[in-house]
């Protein structure tokens, strides 16, 4: 990026707004820390999580952030791996967002541990068979590679390295998202999770969520700097987002149809698709309608010429993404394990019954902490360094003409 680049708000009288934003983010983070120390003292007894719903709201936020983090890097990949200039101009912001969200998501996972003070144990005792530990290695590598990649983008002397590192980041990112999806796919015992489709599905979800987050952040940055994004560039990006949304919807349909095909999963599918109460609502109204169909309609409507429409569509995708995580993670646990297929089960340990879950403020605070961390990192970095995507429209002309 050139030396005179815009950093968020620098040289304009937006300092006050900047500090207000920081304070807001800081306040949420304080709440998170308060929740963390409270739980550390009293145990998870204060939360809505129990021996039936062992992963709750914090994991919904955490997994969304992690999945979106690897997807947001897509923008940079298209720029460096496939040589598209429109996306190349956006590579630094994409790398920054990837790092920020990854830090946020992992922080939530750590804050929710029963024994967070043993983090060092987690970092020094690897069980290499565990897909979880494998994820840890992928995440560490992710930080290193994306960090280096960001350097090559920001320092001209290193720029010859940006392509190979970009390709490495792209491949690493695919592996990482596969591994994240596999966390659920490897849980063989649960009707809701035991599908090889989880890994590829998570890659698609990550493309969609990452693209949506990127477009939201980009819109806000442009607005802040009173810049109008070129209509053709906006059109390109919104089309890509639409393709990702459509593909995610398609994959979701395939997953549920395959599940229906195996007789054993019928009960589970009936639960999620028809009788699951909050999960059924979250699936149809949240994930499918708000997070998929509606954004698609918006993006293909004549209104999509307006940046505001695209902004709303992207926000909806993010909302739908959280609903999807809720259905996948919590809905998957709410449905009871079937120890004896063909038998009705009951016990003092809640066998054979749908497990209720009501999240508390503590879980919400832990989860929001991840967003706050990602938000703070992004806001500070964007103000201090030049991350604003700037397009040299003349140089872009051939690419934009080609469509």
């Amino acid at each position: 990026m050139n030396g005179t680049s815009y950093a968020l708000g620098v040289g304009e009288d937006k300092s006050a707004l900047f500090w207000t934003l920081l304070a807001l983010g800081g306040l949420v983070l304080l709440g998170t820390l308060y929740a963390f120390f409270t739980l550390e003292h009293h145990g998870h007894a204060l939360t809505g999580m129990d021996n039936q719903i062992v992963w709750g709201l914090p994991h919904v936020f955490a997994v969304f952030l992690i999945v979106a983090a690897s997807g947001v890097l897509n923008v940079a990949s298209i720029g460096s791996v496939f040589g598209k200039k429109v996306y190349k101009a956006r590579a630094p912001l994409s790398g920054l967002l990837a790092l920020a969200m990854m830090v946020g998501g992992l922080a939530v996972l750590v804050l929710d541990l029963g024994r967070p003070e043993r983090l060092t144990v987690a970092l020094t005792h690897y069980n290499f068979k565990s897909i979880f530990a494998l994820n840890m290695i992928f995440y560490n590598g992710f930080f290193a590679i994306v960090g280096l990649y960001l350097l090559t983008l920001m320092d001209r002397k290193l720029s010859p390295w940006s392509k190979p590192l970009g390709i490495l980041a792209f491949l690493w990112r695919l592996a990482l998202t596969t591994a994240t999806g596999s966390i659920f796919g490897f849980i063989v015992a649960r009707a809701g999770f035991n599908s090889a489709l989880y890994a590829p599905m998570f890659i698609l979800y990550s493309f969609t969520y990452g693209m949506a987050v990127f477009m939201v952040v980009q819109s806000i940055m442009y607005k802040w700097n009173d810049i109008q994004v070129d209509a053709r560039i906006l059109a390109k990006m919104k089309n890509l987002l639409a393709i990702f949304i459509a593909a995610s919807l398609y994959f979701t349909a395939v997953l549920h149809l395959t599940n229906l095909y195996y007789a054993k999963q019928w009960e589970f599918e009936r639960f999620i698709l028809l009788e699951g109460g909050v999960y059924t609502w979250m699936f149809w109204a949240g994930q499918v309608l708000l997070g998929g169909v509606l954004p698609l309609i918006l993006l293909f409507s004549p209104l999509a010429r307006h940046p505001a429409t695209v902004f709303v569509a992207a926000l909806l995708v993010i909302l739908g993404g959280h609903c999807q995580m809720y259905v996948t993670i919590i809905g998957g646990q709410a449905f009871p394990l079937d120890l004896f297929p063909g038998w009705a089960e009951s016990s003092s340990f809640y066998d054979g019954q749908i497990h209720p879950y009501t999240p508390t403020i503590w879980e919400l605070l832990l989860g929001l902490g991840g967003i706050a961390i990602a938000f703070l990192i992004t806001t500070v970095a964007v103000r201090v360094l030049g991350f604003l995507p700037q397009d040299d429209l003349k140089a872009l002309e051939p690419e934009l003409k080609a469509g």
Partner: protein, 247 residues
């Protein structure tokens, strides 16, 4: 025996590759009975032994809770049954959906040969001893609860609250995951039995038998050899150490 083990390894790999494995085709018990050597009480855990349990559901009395009470007592559990309370062993009531037949049985950690909890645990806190007992190392468990997500038997509990009044022999702690240990403290003392089995015998039901699966002369090995027993979720190919008779 060797062949059987290999076969099982192979099944495991298939499973990991995401393929669905059809129900166990090997005769029950064949996998379990190994070389004919049990260990002396003073020796450390050895792989010449594999501890296991057979539960005869026909002898298990509906409404009897002796095993559960004994377990709570032995291991210092409160016995409370709220959604956040720990339960290492529970009485499960099952009713066949087509015939309507009803069975009452104790459900506990099945001490699998290939435990999914051990596979997924990021720190290695979930582990299987040489003698087949599956345990959680209290000092390396970070409380991530992935093992609870992975266990097909819902055998694990998370400690949600600070604990007081613990049995010094059975250390437990807030923020860690725990489950049935086959009363490892008793086994290591050479008692070679568990609190639940003792209680079941004392109540006169004799529905549970604990013993060395690898010792062909042991009562448990004899039962496995001569009677039909069932693994719960045999389709998962975990080769459980707990078997049920009469289902």
């Amino acid at each position: 025996m060797k062949e059987a083990t290999n076969l099982n390894e192979e099944r495991r790999e298939l499973l990991k590759a995401g393929a669905l494995v059809a129900g166990s085709t090997l005769a029950p018990g064949v996998l379990l009975i190994g070389v004919a050597q049990a260990r002396a009480p003073e020796e450390p855990a050895s792989d010449r032994v594999r501890w296991g349990m057979v539960i005869d559901v026909n002898k298990c009395a509906d409404g009897c809770n002796a095993c559960v009470t004994a377990c709570n007592e032995e291991n210092g559990l409160s016995g409370a049954t709220g959604p956040q309370d720990a339960q290492w062993i529970r009485k499960l009531h099952i009713r066949n959906l087509s015939t309507g037949v009803e069975i009452s049985l104790p459900m506990l950690c099945q001490h699998c040969e290939h435990p999914p909890c051990v596979d997924v645990c990021p720190t290695g806190a979930s582990m299987k001893r040489a003698d087949g007992i599956v345990l959680v190392d209290r000092h390396t468990c970070i409380g991530c609860r992935y093992c609870m997500m992975a266990c097909p038997y819902k055998a694990r509990s998370f400690v949600h609250e600070p604990l007081t009044d613990q049995n010094p022999e059975v250390p437990r702690g807030k923020g860690c995951v725990e489950s049935c240990t086959f009363c490892v403290q008793k086994v290591d003392r050479g008692e070679n039995t568990t609190a639940c089995v003792e209680a079941c015998n004392a109540a006169g039901h004799k529905a549970m038998i604990f013993g060395d699966l690898k010792d062909p002369n042991s009562e448990i090995a004899q039962i496995l050899k001569h009677h039909k027993t069932t693994e719960v979720r045999a389709d998962l190919g975990l080769n459980t150490g707990v078997r049920y008779q009469g289902i």
